[in-house]
């Protein structure tokens, strides 16, 4: 029986992680659309979505063939690696050792590149490829996140719901503001997502190893609290070791 804690954590992790990825893809699509036109932007986007859909249809049924304990263990290991990468970077960013990601800069860099390519006879193709690449690369991460947080307990439907909600929200906000979503607190989101994915990773790997976690699903919350406490303490100690350090921004 899957508890409300796991369902809530699954939907939240999938929503937040997908939100961050979709914001990054949206910035590139917007840059292509405004600098080169919506035809290459939408063509690249639709082709990438079709390729992602084909990948899901092709690989999705294979998941059902893997024994549950092995699936939990494998996904857990990948989630530990994936989540730790996000959390590590978020800690370094919060402490000022790595520049914060700036959607305005990413937008400007992409738009500038497209303007420089305008004289090229393949300009539309290059613009479409940029949109295709952005959607495909960020989309692969979204697909992995949905599978990783959902497959361990048969919650792929809930995880997909979180990802779809994130896509729709980014599109709705983007449609309204018609500019890069630079006011989204990306590093805070990445910090939270890093904590959640790392916690899921340890939890699933533990289940795969045969652990009966005390409190069952509630152990997931305890693991997350421990990750948050250690991460915040690390940020505080690092900031204290070099008080004048202010992180720059990067595209």
């Amino acid at each position: 029986m899957t508890g409300i804690t796991t369902i809530t954590s699954t939907v939240t992790a999938s929503f937040l992680a997908s939100f961050v990825e979709v914001v990054e893809a949206f910035t590139i699509i917007l840059a292509v659309g405004l600098a080169r036109g919506w035809r290459p932007a939408l063509t690249g986007t639709v082709l990438a979505l079709l390729l992602l859909g084909a990948l899901i249809l092709l690989l999705g049924p294979l998941l059902a063939l893997i024994p549950l304990h092995l699936l939990q263990f494998g996904i857990g290991v990948l989630l530990i690696l994936f989540g730790m990468r996000w959390l590590r970077k978020a800690i370094l960013r919060a402490a000022g050792f790595v520049g914060l990601h700036d959607e305005e800069k990413a937008f400007a860099a992409q738009a500038d590149l497209l303007v420089r390519q305008a004289a090229d006879r393949r300009a539309d193709f290059l613009a479409g490829t940029a949109a295709f690449k952005a959607v495909l690369l960020e989309g692969v991460e979204v697909v992995f996140i949905v599978i990783a947080v959902g497959a361990g307990r048969g919650l792929l439907g809930y995880a997909s719901l979180g990802a779809v909600a994130a896509c729709l929200l980014v599109l709705a906000i983007g449609f309204l503001v018609h500019r890069p979503l630079s006011r989204v607190p990306e590093n805070t989101l990445k910090f939270v997502v890093g904590v959640m994915l790392s916690s899921f990773g340890v939890f699933w790997t533990g289940e795969g190893l045969g652990a009966n976690w005390p409190g069952s699903d509630a152990a997931l919350v305890a693991i997350a609290v421990l990750f948050v406490a250690v991460s915040l303490l690390t940020v505080r100690l690092l900031r204290g070791s070099q008080p004048g350090r202010i992180g720059a921004t990067s595209p």
């Binding site: 050792f97 495909l136 340890v202 790997t205 190893l209 009966n212």
Partner: protein, 73 residues
């Protein structure tokens, strides 16, 4: 081809940023798995060992990178 290469690089990059952290995490998971399967330490004890080790490796990786960045300034 460039797009496929970029997709593969991105796929690998999803899991590996700091190579040393990724390698030590995989080694930690392997050791814990061996301890659970062959030394009989129990799934929960192994999982708690994994949790403690993962947190320790994360902090070490962050401090190593911070030190490197400080030295580069």
């Amino acid at each position: 081809m460039t797009v496929i290469r970029a997709a593969i690089a991105e796929l690998i990059g999803m899991f590996i940023d700091d190579g040393q952290l990724a390698l030590t995490l995989v080694a930690l998971i392997a050791v814990v798995t061996l301890l659970v399967k062959f030394a009989g330490i129990g799934g929960l004890a192994g999982s708690l060992l994994l949790l403690a080790g993962a947190i320790g490796l994360l902090v070490e990786s962050v401090y190593r990178d911070a030190r490197r960045k400080k030295a580069a300034d």
